[in-house]
Amino acid sequence: MTERTTVSRRALLKFGGGATAAVALFGISACTGDEAPNPFGDTAGGDPDALESPLLAERVAAGELPPLTERLPVNPLVVEPWESTGRFGGTIRRAQTDALDNGILQAFAGVGLLEWNKAADASQPSLAETFEKSDDNRVYTFVLREGLRWSDGEPFTSADVLFTVDRFLKNDVFWPGPPFWFSDAGQQRPEVETPDERTVVITFERPFALFEKFLCHPAVSYQFIKPRHYLEQFHPDVTDRAVVDEAASAAGFDSWDQYFADRDNWWTNPERPVMGAFMVTSSASGGSGTAELERNPYYYKTDPDGRQLPYVDHVQVQVLEQDALDLRAANGDLDMQGHFLGYNTTQVYVQNAESRGFEVLRWQATASLLSICPNLSHQDPVLREVLADVRVRAALSHAIDREEMNTTLLGGLGVARHPLATEDSDYYVEGGGQRFLDYDVAEAERLLDEAGLADRNGAGTRLLPDGRPFELVLLYVANDSGVPQTDAFEMVRRNWAEIGVSIVVRPVDGTLYTELRASNDFDLDGTTMPENDWDLEPVWFIPTASNSHTAPGYGQWYSSGGTEGIEPTDEIKQLMDEWDALRTAENDEARIESGRAIMRQHDENVYAIGLLKLPFQPIVVNNGLRNVRDDDPALSFYYGREGISKPEQMYFSEPTS
């Protein structure tokens, strides 16, 4: 590409014409041709009894890697395969729409001291060999596996965890306030002690009931695992400040913490050692827009026969626009993908599945329940009072014809309910989420009349107590990959007009939506909501900060300790008290009891009016890829999405590379 030759203009024109013709011809002939040769070489499969991938065996033979026994910990984590033990090799092809989203790592290469068990309802030790917590949820003790190593071969010890906590999680440049997943209810970060190379003791001042869950959460767990030996050189507490600053500015960064964050980014910096199943060898933010991941030769998990996982050698992630991604999925070009696929394109996938050699599985869709959250902390005191009245919210809910909406938008497959924990959750309350669901205009009218909104103006719109018409703006981000929101909200608008409540449906850009919400400047928030595991991300259910979906004004009051925002009503304060009780519970029974109390309060008060929930989330899986869960696990951020299927034990029945 860089060579330069001198050609006359005429020759260039001739060549141009020829090249164009060649392009056209190649283009057409290429489409009918066979698949392109594989650049990864043919090291597939190999000896079925081998304990390590042929890819690594070659490197051991060449003297580039120590033998397998020296790379595995004394006591590796044994993963039970979903169907059967597998064979080595192959490349899992995936795609995503955003070059910076590192969700693939959380799904395919997640790592932590603990991890979710297969059912994703409890923790199991991971990098830690054993884990204990004190009876009051204050002291957490981990013993690491012996002989763990980073992907570059350096030992992983308790010093790495200590470095992460002291130099990163407790550093005020990175965290001006404590992260919510690493501080107790008193906003205090814990003390960490490392009595020996393998033991880590984390002690909170007050009980922190959610810490164990957070340690399983793949988006949190990896933040405790940083390579001290690599990152030390970028940290001024350890390395000379002048050296660190100079390196940062040489790399084009304004300050050392920018450079540190960049070097620490396991998705964009291939040099950073990792502990997960795969390591990035070429980044998606590079010129090709495609990330390549390769197996970590020091990965600490094996199958029951002692073969080192993962079975698959490579993962490739292409960054594509949504349309191109959908077509690729429908073409069988993606080997295992659920995240980024829309429910609405399921039909296209199913139509092409058989002829293009893939299968469409149905997992549970989480955060797919479309809801309307009235702003309980509205800036306007009159509207605030009206929306705080449960009769008004119940009336609004009764006035929605969910059956018609379901038939029209989801072919009758959708589920009508309010957003509350489901049977799968500890926080489930009997019959929760079913109140005020039936379409009953007369009841809605009666409730509104009773709530003091009986008067109407000439247009038939009800009047607020101060005489203004009851008109609201419904704010939402247009995104039709789930329930077609615009259509659904339009139906709500017509339904509510019948009972004299007038709304304007206002789709906005995601940025503006976030801004308006944070500044407490909206009437109704049309949002999709998670139902389970809300304790890990309470913004939808408890106003804990100004990013709350139900009451940002109260949230600000809560997070600022009462100095800013709007003072909540006693009812909302009760919700906040229960939340505090949940966070500081000394045992699981107390935590679950508080959680159920929160759910009950939501159930009785419909703070969020549920519309419809998607029946499932489509997952496309190459026919040749085995050990992918075919029951219906949840495709949830809290379980690392596809990670719930433990990707390290997936294998190709006939690996091609």
């Binding site: 590409m1 141009g16 090249a19 164009t20 060649a22 392009v23 190649f26 290429a30 392109a36 594989n38 650049p39 092809r93 955003d98 440049v173 990175f174 965290w175 001006p176 306030g177 919510f180 997943w181 988006a219 084009g252 304004d254 300050s255 920018q258 960049d262 980014n265 964009t268 933010s285 590079g286 010129g287 090709s288 827009g289 390549e292 490739q316 292409q318 594509l320 626009e321 191109a324 991604l325 077509l327 690729r328 429908a330 073409n331 070009d333 981000v477 995104n479 995601g510 940025t511 503006l512 976030t514 801004e515 999709t528 998670p530 991300e537 913004v539 100004s546 990013n547 997070s559 951020f637």
Partner: protein, 330 residues
């Protein structure tokens, strides 16, 4: 002539300053900043950003600074150090991001330009010589249809046809196997296999204009006395046309050559976006959408500079060809 060039170059400087301020200002107009966009996209995925972390990021990125401080930091680094700053979202120098995508962007731009000319010039000449014939109407008809169909739609249709008829991987300039492979003959062939769709889509749209201009210019020339004379003297029709009328008809293309500079650089944003090409256009679009202002500002600045330089070149070229231009107010 020298005076003309100097005056023209002097005019360029205030234009560039104004463009850079306006570009940077417009990028900052939408509500929120890069971090709000990040929060929005995190929320869309079912998670929220810790308020503490948010404050740290604001400080790290210097997002709280007032407009003029940010602008001055940006422009002075470019002028004094050639440093376009750091992209918020990629956490990499803007210049490196652009440089990585430049070769393929230029390849696409040049291939498209050649394709357009290779199709349009002969078609225009033919159209003029056989005016009001069946061929003329056919060419004009196809040209107008190509012009009228929106580019992104044509791209989607072709991508869908590629998928439906040939089972081709949609999107990108390379097959998945080849995308990170080192350059080789196989990779080059793979590039050609994917390049034809965008070249066809972008090229066809530009063809109609070139056909019409060529046709009109040729028609002007073909009836002039010198053509009649040459024909009377028995010059063969092919030689006759290429020798003089075609040369003159080419003039508009030569004098507007400079304008192709920016279009070579941005690589047709919308088509590239639809087809997920790793060119500069989609980079600009993502930067604008996520309010990554140094990246967006850098690309817009370069496009603006190229436009100004292209215009300058065209003007100088025109002045060289046509002396009347030089004596006007430059």
């Amino acid at each position: 002539m020298l005076r003309f060039i100097i005056m023209r170059v002097l005019h360029v400087i205030p234009t560039l300053v104004a463009i850079s301020v306006i570009a940077f200002f417009i990028i900052q107009l939408p509500p929120g900043d890069f971090l709000t966009t990040q929060i929005a996209s995190l929320e869309a995925q079912g998670q929220s950003l810790d308020p503490a972390q948010l404050d740290a990021l604001r400080a790290r990125y210097g997002i709280g600074d007032p407009f003029w401080v940010q602008y001055w930091k940006w422009i002075s680094n470019i002028l004094l150090h050639g440093d376009f700053g750091l992209s918020f979202q990629f956490q990499r120098p803007v210049s490196a991001l652009i440089a990585e995508r430049l070769p393929l962007t230029l390849a696409l731009g040049v291939a498209t330009l050649l394709f357009t000319w290779a199709i349009a010039l002969p078609a225009g000449v033919y159209s003029a010589m056989k005016q009001h014939s069946f061929g003329d109407y056919t060419i004009s008809g196809i040209g107008f249809i190509a012009l009228a169909v929106p580019n992104f739609l044509a791209a989607l249709v072709l991508a869908y046809l590629g998928f439906e008829l040939f089972g081709q991987s949609v999107g990108g300039l390379f097959s998945p196997e080849m995308v990170n492979a080192p350059w080789s003959m196989a990779k080059f062939v793979d590039l050609l296999e994917h390049l034809w769709i965008p070249v066809l889509v972008i090229g066809l749209a530009g063809t109609a204009g070139v056909i019409r201009v060529t046709r009109a210019n040729m028609l002007d020339e073909l009836n002039k006395p010198y053509v009649t004379t040459a024909r009377a003297k028995g010059l063969s029709e092919g030689r006759l046309v290429t020798k003089y009328p075609l040369r003159i008809a080419m003039n508009p293309f030569i004098s507007t050559a400079g304008w192709h500079l920016p279009s070579l650089f941005d690589g047709e944003i919308i088509v590239a976006q639809v087809l997920a090409l790793s060119t500069i256009g989609p980079l600009l679009l993502t930067a604008l959408r996520s309010q990554d202002m140094y990246l967006a500002g850098g690309i817009i600045l370069i496009i603006a500079v190229l436009t100004v330089i292209g215009t300058l070149l065209s003007d100088i070229l025109l002045a060289a060809v046509d002396p009347r231009v030089r004596f006007g107010k430059a």
